[in-house]
Amino acid sequence: MDKVVSSAQEAVADVTDGSTIMFGGFGVSGIPFTLIRALRHKGTKNITAIINNAGGRLANIDLAVLVKNRQIKKVIASYPVYPWFVSPFEEQYLKGEVELEIIPQGTFVERIRAGGAGIAGFYTPTGVGTVVENGKEKRSFNGKEYLLELALAADFALIKAHKADKMGNLTYRLTARNFNPVMATAARITIAEVDEVVETGELDPETVITPGIYVNRVVKGEKYEVRFE
């Protein structure tokens, strides 16, 4: 079995207009920069992006690349904007040019986990008594109120890992893991961008975080320089 494809362009070749796409990453860590650039090149339009933050901190390499090129129709996020500057996403959102669904982060990731695990929904106490409860079933268990939240799944998950073998088993580095292993489970097609591809058998099975069963394609990423403010 060999899931390695030769280029990011080939990896995203079937990502058609209107796709719902999960993007891994938190802050500056674990973002699939090479796959984002490949989508920019392909020009896929009307994307619904499921991503923690709508980009802009690293505006030349993160999701802002696709936002600026008008490829994003809607963002589903928990921390969409920045308190200290106006991102390309916020600019378009304030003009009504892009949609936003904002979700508490724990609910966001648990909905993705459910989506990948065959669970239709779950009850969580998060958001009770806030605007988050609008339109949702509220139910009491042992005297405490919970909201029904539904699973979230996608056509594609674009994730970033550290090493992959040819079967698609993945390892991660430090806090670059974040949403990536969860999103890997919740899409019809999962594409992993990695720092290094190794032969099958070279990864210690004890260190595999994402088993290859969840991964459809592997591509070696480019190196991008990430600078802190």
Binding site: F26, G27, V28, S29, G30, N52, R57, S78, Y79, P80, V81, P83, E90, Y93, L94, L100, I102, I103, P104, Q105, G106, T107, V109, E110, I112, R113, T124, P125, T126, G127, V128, G129, T130, V131, V132, Y172, R173, L174, T175, A176, R177, N178, F179, N180, P181, V182, I209, V226, F228
Partner: protein, 220 residues
Amino acid sequence: MKSGLSRELIAMRAAKELKDGDYVNLGIGLPTQVSSFIPEDVEVIFHSENGILGFGRIADENERDPDLINAGAQPITLKPGAAFFNSADAFAMIRGGYIDVAVLGAFQVSEKGDLANWMILEKKVGNIGGSMDLVVAVKEVIITMEHTTRKGAPRIVKECTYPLTGRGVVNLIITNLAVIAVTPEGLLLKEVAPSVTPQEVQSVTEPKLRLAADLHEMEL
């Protein structure tokens, strides 16, 4: 109005609330500074929702690794005993009740302990992040903030006018002027900043404050 404590001193006062063995989550902004003021003989384990337990101080320039950050995307260092996990596990720890204390910022806190910290009305968009999950499940929620807005309006109010993060969730408020506990009987003024009087604190606080029997000046 007197300006009271600097932001660093607010963080230093908040650090005194953390006990040996506590698992603690720090919000973005002022709360992240709390980690700099933990005494050496107190072991506090910091949790961050991007998937780490057991980090230490902010990394120096030559130690920075883009793959190692806190929830504010600042480069951090590891302490012995650190662990990594994915975001779903990070929030299972939060909702599961394993986190002892969250120190968060706020726009407004009500006398009933309602918290508004994710969106101001003047802006049409805000950030929820992990705050709503934290406030429903963490054992103690400590708010660190300026006592008033830049224009001098109270941030401690009878009813929050900004969108809520949670209802009845705040335990303790630490500001540049005072330390105030949220109790079933209302707000209890426990400490005042050096050279600030209880009357001065009340004059910039919308709800009526009760004075603690042992009301005293803040010790840092």
